[in-house]
């Protein structure tokens, strides 16, 4: 065979397997993960998600490190954040993260016409939105839950009762914190998707969503204080906190829905209704987009 000869293989048909809709769904989900985390994108696309992930997880590692250190030097009874308190940090981060990620997941596809490509593939509108939501859910759940695992097993490691005894005695915290993470996702992601579905730019949708969520609490507080108790349901950002406290068995009466006299299950119902309603609206928006 002569050296230096380039052989033009021409067009080669694909004779391997075709995975159909299931393969398309997996590809969509993986692409969603890459988008949420800014992978295979320019450096600035990575800055926000990885920065927020670091802020969420590093304090837990730091607290456990301090606990180990204080135990080493003989200082006992050092206890930092509880699981419930840690949600005050991760809940806020989740709000910002979900707002930014929802825009990144939905807006570019629509603005740049990529939905036409999805529409020509073996995917339904529901597949597209579910694939995007699943990717966001996995990332949000992971970064919200990871610090609780660090806290839980860190405490078990430093426990005076021994690792096994601590885990056996406090195992309930594992599913409770997992359930609370899901509640935060269910409360925040659907409305964030709704804002992203109607926004021309990811940052505008994210800003509007965060603004509405942040303003909902003072507006609801003001209305409840003048005697309009049903307005307690408008405190959108506080519903996941109410339900989280309910799941973790924390008694807290300072939240607006509670001040307005609503039981925690009402907050859960509000979260479910808003999720369903916004889901339907997003679906309707996308059915006409291709």
């Amino acid at each position: 065979m002569a050296e230096g000869v380039v052989y033009d293989l021409g067009y080669r048909p694909h004779e391997g397997e075709r995975l159909g809709r299931a393969g398309a769904l997996r590809a969509l989900y993986r692409d969603g993960l890459r988008r949420v985390l800014g992978l295979r994108r320019r450096a600035r696309a990575k800055a926000l998600p990885w920065g927020l992930l670091a802020i969420a997880v590093i304090p837990a590692i730091f607290f456990i490190g301090i606990t180990v250190f204080t135990k080493e030097i003989g200082v006992e009874d050092v206890d930092f954040f509880s699981h419930a308190q840690y949600f005050d940090l991760t809940g806020t981060i989740a709000l910002i993260f979900i707002a930014a990620a929802a825009g990144e997941l939905l807006v570019p596809d629509r603005v740049h016409g990529v939905l036409q490509v999805y529409a020509s593939r073996p995917l339904t509108t529901g597949d597209y939105l579910l694939g995007r939501a699943a990717a966001l859910a996995v990332v949000v759940f992971s970064f919200m839950y990871a610090p609780h695992l660090v806290l839980f097993f860190g405490r078990a490691w430093t426990s005076n009762d021994g690792f096994g005894s601590y885990v056996a005695g406090n195992a309930g915290a594992l599913w409770q914190t997992a359930a609370a993470c899901l509640v935060y996702f269910a409360a925040l992601a659907p409305p964030a998707f709704l804002f992203a579905a109607y926004s021309r730019r990811p940052t505008l949708g994210a800003g509007a969503f965060i603004g509405v969520m942040a303003l909902s609490t003072p507006v609801a507080t003001a209305l409840v204080e003048v005697g309009v108790d049903p307005a307690g349901l408008l405190a959108l950002q506080q519903h996941p906190t109410v339900v989280k406290d309910w799941i973790l068995g924390v008694r807290s009466g300072h939240l607006v829905p509670q001040q307005a006299g609503f039981d925690p299950w009402v907050s859960l119902a509000v979260i479910v209704v808003i999720a369903l309603l916004t889901g339907v609206l997003v679906m309707r928006r996308y059915r006409g987009s291709a």
């Binding site: 067009y11 075709r18 159909g20 809709r21 393969g23 295979r40 570019p108 740049h112 990529v114 036409q116």
Partner: protein
Amino acid sequence: MSESIVAARGLGFSYGDIVALRDVDLDVPAGCIGLVGANGAGKTTLLKLLLGILRPGTGLVWTLGRSIPVEALAVRSRVGYMPESACLPPDQTAADFVGYAAELAGLPTRAARQRASDILGLVGLHEERFRHMGGFSTGMRQRAKLAQAIVHDPDLVLLDEPTAGLDPEGREEMLGLIGRLESFGINSIVSSHVLTDIERTCRWVVMLDGGRVLRSGPLTEISATDEVAVEVLDDPAPLAAALAAAGAGVEVKGNLIVVRGGSGDPFDMVRDALAETGAALRRLGPRRTTLEDVFLQGAGDG
């Protein structure tokens, strides 16, 4: 419907009060098919109906022998679509996006990446495959759009105005690529309002006007006439007079005479007139019209 790659019966679609397609009957064979018509004729609507992106308002439609929209998901694994408008994310490389497009059509990840590389080479983007597409020229974007449409080795690809926005050189290259698709085993339906593009690449033509099918058939049949073109070396007047005297319809354009047979075969009439006048013949053959002539005539009749 097994012989047709695309078929329709009484197909209609409206956007609210605006009728985009009405009562369309089609049977389109394999090969390179031209879909021509003015802007707003219903070409893009028809392509979206063939993919199942739109649901028919009336009638039935089949793509690759499968009923749409019932079997649309199965069909889409074997069909590619190159939209007329932008469809490329500017912050992704061509290799990433075309590979992803292949995965979305159901190809396994490794095969998708390999094919993305092969197809980007085929459309002339091998050197640019790791560049973000936001920096692509119009010609490169059109090539990338074609690449995502054929990367999964479809049986049929629907190309919506593939030469839109291209300069003459880019247009030549794109038409060359489209012309090669059939040799790859990929049937194509090329929508365009540029009739010369269709004449150069397609063997079968569907003409749409105002949402209706004007003509559908092989290009050779559509462009054929019952007229004969005779070109002579010297003065055409004696030959034209002889033909007129024999009862033929005659139209003289310079040295060219267009002959319409009256009662007899126009070729026989030309033969006899040439023998009678001794005119020096340069060229003789059936006169073909351009698609533009056919379209304008059909639109006028409609």
